[in-house]
């Protein structure tokens, strides 16, 4: 039984989508109808038993859930604490992204939509969206930065093979931020028939909450699995990488109100937090509005959004979901960062020590393990959000 009904600050934003000062829906009037429909219906639809039955069935039979919680013995020994890996990399399509796209495609069907649009950075969300569109026979258009199309060629091929149209975003920096702009513009231009599947806990309310709820299956399973394995539901730490923050939101969700559980979010520091080539939003950003919600945004003093940098396309985003901005501001979450170099080293190390090649995004989470003062009695869950096949070209350059 999903734990959707827990009521508190971190899990339930206000009626207008605020987590503290962050959130809201700063959208042009042209999107009002679509967003209002979602806002008034998403909870009702998600809590409908028939919807839940269909959602759970697909998570089980199509995605392959529950994903294992794996005790990483060699890594545990090396770090000096008990480390469990939540194997989201074993989900169909290779990452946690599909938990959300399954949920949203079912929601789009109930809203009577005919066409799906999505943005993608690394291409994982694009592939997950193209996959569920194929599954449900819906038209799919994915917006992807021109630069990302070049550096994530295998995922572009996957999307095409799945029947999606990939449209290059040529504006601005030609990465995830611009792909998101283009997807929002496309939605403005055809609002009635189209549903926009946002891939992260960003965007106007209700997206951050809706995506967090669809991803919350991750922490729901962790609690159950940890209880079976250790006799206790609560770890001491949950560690996850954060770009927009969807896998972290899912991994944290059912621990948000467990004060003994330390929530560790790892951002991409690129060449170093203060190198000028970084995507460590909470370290470098200030309060601002991006893609329809108020959050922490990397920007100039004039309020122009700046170009982030990360070796991983999925973390190459100048914002962060409003839930995470609130976790950061309220100090409920610990926000750390890992550089490109550290992430690469972690990816190679995890491959050798546990036989698991992680996505570059995910690798960032592992880089902080030696730095958070773990004790031998600590029980840590790392969200292994995606597998590394898509990053082989990058890894091959460093073999």
């Amino acid at each position: 039984m999903p734990l959707f009904n827990v009521d508190n600050n971190y899990q339930n934003p206000s009626a207008e989508g605020y987590y503290g000062e962050f959130g809201g829906a700063y959208i042009p009037e042209m999107l009002y109808g679509n967003v209002e429909t979602l806002k008034t219906q998403y909870l009702q639809i998600m809590q409908d038993p028939i919807f839940q039955a269909e959602f759970q069935q697909l998570l089980k039979d199509y995605v392959g859930r529950p994903t294992p919680l794996f005790l990483a013995e060699r890594l545990s020994k090396e770090i000096g604490a008990t480390i469990y890996l939540k194997r989201e990399d074993l989900c169909h399509t290779g990452a946690h992204k599909i938990n959300n796209t399954i949920g949203q495609i079912l929601l789009a069907q109930r809203l009577g939509k005919k066409k799906i649009i999505a943005e993608t950075g690394a291409g994982q969300h694009g592939v997950a969206t193209a996959t569920v569109c194929a599954l449900k026979g819906m038209e799919c258009v994915v917006y992807m930065g021109e630069k990302d199309i070049e550096r994530q060629a295998p995922n572009v091929a996957r999307m095409k093979m799945l029947g999606a149209t990939v449209v290059p975003a040529k504006s601005g920096s030609k990465t995830l931020k611009d792909a998101t702009n283009e997807a929002i513009r496309a939605w403005i231009n055809e609002p009635n028939e189209t549903h926009y599947i946002i891939g992260s806990v960003v965007g106007p309310h209700p997206y951050p909450d809706m995506v967090a709820r669809f991803q919350s299956v991750i922490s729901e399973e962790i609690r159950i699995q940890l209880k079976v394995k250790t006799g206790k539901e609560l770890p001491t730490h949950v560690v996850a990488c954060v770009g927009g923050g969807s896998n972290a939101a899912g991994a944290f969700y059912h621990f948000l109100n467990e004060p003994t559980v330390q929530l560790v979010a790892v951002e991409a520091a690129g060449h170093g937090v203060h190198s000028g080539l970084s995507a460590a939003t909470t370290q470098l950003g200030t309060a601002g509005i991006l893609h329809g919600s108020k959050s922490i945004v990397m920007q100039t003093s004039d309020g122009q959004v700046v170009e982030p940098h990360s070796i991983s396309a999925g973390l190459d985003y100048p914002g962060i979901g409003p839930l995470h901005a609130y976790l950061y501001k309220s100090k409920r979450g610990t926000f750390l960062s890992a550089t490109d170099e550290e992430a690469l080293a972690s990816a190679f190390h995890l491959s050798k020590i546990e036989g698991i090649i992680p996505a570059l995004e995910t690798a960032h989470a592992f880089s902080v393990l030696p730095k958070i003062g773990l004790k031998s009695t600590d029980v840590v869950v790392v969200c292994l959000s995606g597998r590394g096949d898509k990053d082989l070209a990058t890894y091959m350059e460093h073999l």
Binding site: E29, G172, N189, T286
Partner: protein, 257 residues
């Protein structure tokens, strides 16, 4: 009486509002573009403050915004450029822009400064009704600026009335749910505008999005007080000709003079 109010008192049909991007085509061309617009028949100037992520704008205005930002435009520079504009510009000027740069500048200071240099109103497409009522509306009203909400063909009648009641100066009727610079089927638009007209709103209605030449300007103004041209004019400026000449030719082709 505000400048916009006076304008609509004197002229209640075929009012032409032209959009231009501050700092485009050159950083210091802002005032030159504005005076050319005034001289050649524009009755309102909508001055766009460039932003890196303009969600409601199509490609033409995006490109002009990028160019303007590259040229060094920002809110502080803009206020410096237009601080004496009322020596030469007598028609109403409304600022159009997105929330983020204004929040960084300081919302209250921004409104005060805009009023001080002689700006008449604001169009902020990503400031929604809820936030306006919660917080920002009061600051705008206190500064004495007009605030212009957008309505679209999808906006329910009750909401149109509400947006109209909170707007002053005029109401911005988006011709269809779309970003700027897209072609529109004006037969469909006509029914929507006729319907707006029949609602007897308190504000004059100006139609924007998709108005690009005499035919669309004529069609848009049958049921309304006027129309707004943006992308088509920016496109004209982007050709790089003399600003005065381009503006004169473009506006006379629209107005059919």
């Amino acid at each position: 009486m505000s400048r916009l109010e006076t304008l609509f008192k004197e002229k209640s049909n075929r009012v032409l509002n032209v959009y231009c991007t501050a700092g485009y085509p050159a950083l210091d061309s802002t005032l030159k573009v504005m005076t050319s617009l005034q001289k050649n028949g524009a009755q309102i100037i909508e001055l766009g403050m460039p932003y890196s992520d303009p969600l409601a704008d199509g490609e033409v205005i995006q490109l002009s915004s990028m160019k303007a930002l590259d040229n060094g435009m920002n809110i502080a520079v803009l206020f410096e450029q237009i601080k004496d504009m009322r020596k030469s510009i007598s028609i109403p000027v409304v600022l159009m822009g997105y929330m983020n740069p204004i929040l960084q500048y300081g919302f209250e200071v921004f409104c005060q400064k805009a009023k001080e240099v002689g700006v008449d109103g604001l169009i902020l497409p990503d400031l929604p009704l809820f936030e306006f009522e919660q917080f920002y509306g009061k600051i705008i009203k206190e500064s004495g600026l007009d605030f212009i909400f957008l309505v679209t063909p999808e906006t329910p009648a009750e909401r149109v009335k509400k947006l109209d009641s909170l707007s002053s100066g005029f109401l911005y009727a988006v011709s269809s749910s779309a970003t700027t610079g897209k072609d529109k089927d004006f037969n469909k638009v006509a029914a929507y505008l006729q319907n707006l007209q029949s609602m007897q709103l308190k504000n004059p209605i100006l139609v924007g999005f998709g108005i690009k030449d005499k035919a669309t300007f004529d069609a848009a103004t049958v049921y309304t007080q006027g129309a707004i041209i943006g992308s088509a004019y920016i496109q004209e400026l982007s050709k790089g000709g003399d600003i005065e000449e381009s503006t004169s030719q473009f506006l006379s082709s629209v107005l059919g003079a």
